[in-house]
Symmetry: C2
Subunit: 354 residues, 2 copies
Amino acid sequence: MWNKNTLTEKIGIRYPIIQAGMAGGITTPELVAAVSNAGGLGTLGAGYLNAEQTKESIRKIKQLTDKPFAVNLFTPETPEVRSEEVNQANEWLSPFREALHISQVPEVNEITTAVFEQQIQVIIEEQVPVCSFTFGIPSRSVLQQLQAENILLMGTATTVAEAKANEENGMDMVVMQGSEAGGHRGTFSGSFEDAMIGTMALIPQTADNVTIPVVAAGGMSDGRGVLASLVLGAQGAQLGTAFLTTSESGANKQHKNAVLNSRENQSAITSAFSGKPARGIQNDFMIKMKQYETHLPAYPIQNSLTKPIRGEAGKQNLPEWMSLWSGQNPRLCKQQPAGEFIASIVSQITEMQT
Amino acid sequence: MWNKNTLTEKIGIRYPIIQAGMAGGITTPELVAAVSNAGGLGTLGAGYLNAEQTKESIRKIKQLTDKPFAVNLFTPETPEVRSEEVNQANEWLSPFREALHISQVPEVNEITTAVFEQQIQVIIEEQVPVCSFTFGIPSRSVLQQLQAENILLMGTATTVAEAKANEENGMDMVVMQGSEAGGHRGTFSGSFEDAMIGTMALIPQTADNVTIPVVAAGGMSDGRGVLASLVLGAQGAQLGTAFLTTSESGANKQHKNAVLNSRENQSAITSAFSGKPARGIQNDFMIKMKQYETHLPAYPIQNSLTKPIRGEAGKQNLPEWMSLWSGQNPRLCKQQPAGEFIASIVSQITEMQT
């Protein structure tokens, strides 16, 4: 049985299909619930939400489904805000602000872990079934609080060593993000370039080296990809871009259209939007900012500086200046309800297995 | 039946497992024959051989097997030799030559297609069953000569567009090289960076867009990878690095050991060895030459300039200055006879299928 393993048993889901916790308004409660209702694991991408918004979204999800779901948090990083660096980046960004008629130059306050800690409390209060993390492993005390509440912990890794670190720190399962994946790289030790490992190579090498269930992420968009992940040794497949284009996704129309009309070789990795490497469809912003990339402030500082530009570009219908996160599998993405999408994966696999 | 499809029928092989035509003495006649005798398709990597050596190797293979095998050729490129460029590159390479006590500074003659054309005649004379190509699609007249002799043609591509070009030019099948693959990138249209697509994403998107059989390459090293390739829509899997470490491989001992002792995140892409991007285990030569990479002469000029260094480094047991081609799957590679390796793939798949 392709859909019965430790991962599906632990979480209590029918199919080993996980919708990635894409941050930035993509994972609406409707999307999360639709995925969970269809037998997969929906995930609220709460990386950019505050505690109140996180709680509100979780409550909406609970109104829409009684099935297990996950909340994804960004393990916090607290780089020092250096004013010269911020001023320099703001200067490089000024042509975009001017063209968009944004008069206010963004400022950045001190970066703290306060929101993250509040989010953890919300997850505990709301008894969220699964809590997943990107950008590293939270402190032992945070993990222990969640474990004490029997909340399942799902880490993210991009190398075998990072997977082992997740296991050693008590994660119940680990998402292995291959180089094909859209959005931010989850690399948290060493350079991201060294950790650009294709899913085909990453999954078996990881499965051989950890005992916790491995979830494959990066490059899968249909039944073929999900079944191939299981064959490689994963117990589940996490799909992002393929859910971004579904009807319930909150990604804006230009972003959805960009993905639906792009090809496998049109995305690239950029740090220009957030200060952290991420895969998106190559556009004018990425090309123009490339020269400054190694001198930009760290994540999440740069993210704050580009936020007004990305927001305004969205409103003004200018995809060339938006972050168009996408994996390397856009040709397989369709505009369809998430539940129908999961049903199509299941029937494709069932057919392949007979 | 996982091992019965158009590809295996066309070529007349028992298993859809292809040993990649790695050039530079790795694919000894013994290796090629061992693979073919075990039911796969062995490939002579003739990219760096002259016509006489190619003929000799083919005859040895025929003595060792009566099963189908392939010869891989490099579709020729004839960049102009510019003396200033060559002199500059030789200067950058001089610290390596000096340390290795190589007194002669290499010279490069005009690059022609003569050897390639002679190789084509050898392949026709010797009635080689399959001829595969890397670095682009040869002229129509070359392909027609081979087709007239019923020699099967196998192209290499790294994007869907390149796969379509292979199909349109009459290739009988196409190897899709994912970003995980070791050795040279087969990209022949556009920049190689844009064509670094992971195998997991590349195979289904290609299979949906061409009608000729697709062969997956990059990241597979065992039964899991081979079966996953077929699930993704490929009709065969081409393995390189995993055959490089077999007993019959002619790769030198330092190269084999480097692969056997490396990890998934230790390789990188470099143009410093040959003038063309290729994946190898990161070493001192790659790191030191990185700064000059965009100013080096094109392939195969740079390849000629570094040849004495690579050769002498091999003799002097200095892997840090050798080209240690490897894919992203070294943890799965073993030192074992090629026939045993194929048998293990087959039994792994048989077990997974029951």
